[in-house]
Subunit: 196 residues, 4 copies
């Protein structure tokens, strides 16, 4: 029961993060031509990338709490910490799409992505601590090589922004693709449960 | 339990899509006359059309998941794909209502409507695949003539925008009316269940 | 189960209606004085009135669906109709607070309040029709004298706006107060249930 | 069942309050430099403080309703009263971050914080009244020394804003820290329940 309330509140914040991002996608002021539409392309592509990131977090959050048995006061706060970093996505997305050739906005975008990933890991650790070392979540997570690769790619992306921003954006996109592909370990657990 | 979380998140995004659309309906800057109110008519009518579309998607989504027995990781992503296209409604609505006599904004409005319809069909297919060929949803959907007619009308509407935009808008409205009328097949299933 | 999804979606739209209204309450551009704060008073008071109205609808919606036994496809659409009119509150509130001495914005504010009330009655009727003449909701509603008095006051308020807008605003406030006071009939039903 | 709807609606309003606050955090208009980013620091810090406050209210609201056994019509309205004051956070946050050296905006920020705290106590009292003097919530709340200290600090903060605003902001931050630290009494109750 209480788990469902934490999930509902998180869903609310995530749904709203998507909203604020799409608010950036304003119709061209006086234009109705193909040219004016194409000028929105960087904004549109930034929106797509951030939408996929929020989608990944929503899916993983969903999976993680499905497997979690127990929650406590520390979990609530560590979940709020994750939501805090996710709530900054609209800001960093808007800043980057207007300045996608400038190092700082692209680095800050990557920094917030990385902080959200760290916040996610902290939350996961707290859930495993609450559930005990033999809980379903602990077994499903295992060695977490995806998380380690992501960490390296984020660092590389943030650094690369001071050389060429397209490298950074490519690296951020690769991290999204890595997570987009469903996680065999967790899918296996679902198969055992025979329902998601 | 998990189905309900997917529904809750979708409801959040849909409720927010409505919000952003109504945000376009700004009170006239310095006006308090009937004339200044009537100038908002295109914006108001676009809002009504898009509200009905979101309402249709909410109702059908509701019905579809009511009949769905099983969900999995692929369903989550295909649902997010539908939400992505629905999240673009506020953008295309705002662009069309300011340029309702211009081909491109009206064609783009129809294109996003059509893509949402395609995303809905993809989601439906995945749910039927997850539930098996004899699941309740598979039986309720049947030949899906409504879906086929809508596809033709969307294509006609998008093409017509380059001739006369009022034809396109009429065709989009007709699709809305087709779906507005309750679906006998699905209502029948509810009647059998004796509850919605 | 399905009733809860309808409630959740309605809650989403209502929560968002409150949001958009409070968005109107912008901090004074360059001011930090008492004078600049007091200039926001009409906006603040309009917000308070509309907040109370949304609160009343939320409470009554809550009570009504608590007593409703059955819902069907027609209920979904009639609920969406109510949400449509409630979604216009932010627009009419924003227009009125900028023009609270002008007849049209004040009349339109009252018109949308009245349409929401009508939509509520239509929804209530559909729920009673679905539940049958002896359902709990039918007994709780009874003769509905509150509804009838509100109708008269709304009509008087809309008409009065063309004489003096403060009369209209007073009448709208009186309707809010009438509904604010808890409904003995429905409270009685709760008492019988011994839980809300 | 009904308790969960009240919680869901409250979550919606809280999630949206966070949204509107983060909307204030606009990317710098024409800047992509560190200087332009640092200019956002007061806005960012105000956002962090208000985010923590909303997080505290969400957590405490969560805990309080977890322990509450019965709710009634009066609880619904007293909950709406709390939501009303919380819905003003985005306004007071936006006003303060633009004028953090001016007494009035800083005093008003503290006043709304204090009113939310009062609204919370009123709601808590109503829940205890509904549950009876021996209900779990009544036992968990006890003498409520935290509440009393907060009241004193809010009053001191509001008064101090007319001397030096940094004192006020420090005091508001101290109140947040007091509540941030988990409440032993309530955690104890959870431990007894062996689940949150």
């Amino acid at each position: 029961m209480t788990k469902s309330r934490l999930e509902a509140f998180s869903d609310g914040v995530l749904a709203i993060a998507i909203t604020i991002m799409v608010l950036e996608l304003r119709p061209p002021e006086d234009g109705y031509t193909l040219k004016s539409l194409l000028e929105l392309l960087p904004t549109f592509l930034s929106y797509v990338l951030s939408f996929i990131y929020v989608g990944i977090y929503w899916n993983n959050h969903h999976h993680m709490f499905h497997l979690a048995d127990k929650i406590n006061g520390a979990v609530l706060w560590k979940n709020l910490n994750l939501l805090f970093w996710l709530s900054l996505f609209p800001f960093t997305t808007a800043w980057m799409d207007k300045n996608y050739t400038q190092p700082l906005p692209v680095a800050v975008y990557g920094f917030v992505l990385a902080m959200a990933a760290v916040a996610y890991l902290i939350l996961q650790k707290e859930l495993i601590k609450a559930g005990g070392p033999n809980c379903k979540l602990a077994q499903a997570v295992g060695t977490d090589s995806k998380g380690k690769i992501s960490g390296v790619l984020y660092l590389a992306g943030i650094s690369a922004s001071f050389i060429a921003t397209w490298i950074s954006i490519t690296l951020y996109t690769i991290v999204a693709l890595i997570w987009f592909i469903p996680d065999k370990r967790i899918e296996k657990f679902y198969a055992d449960d025979n329902e998601i």
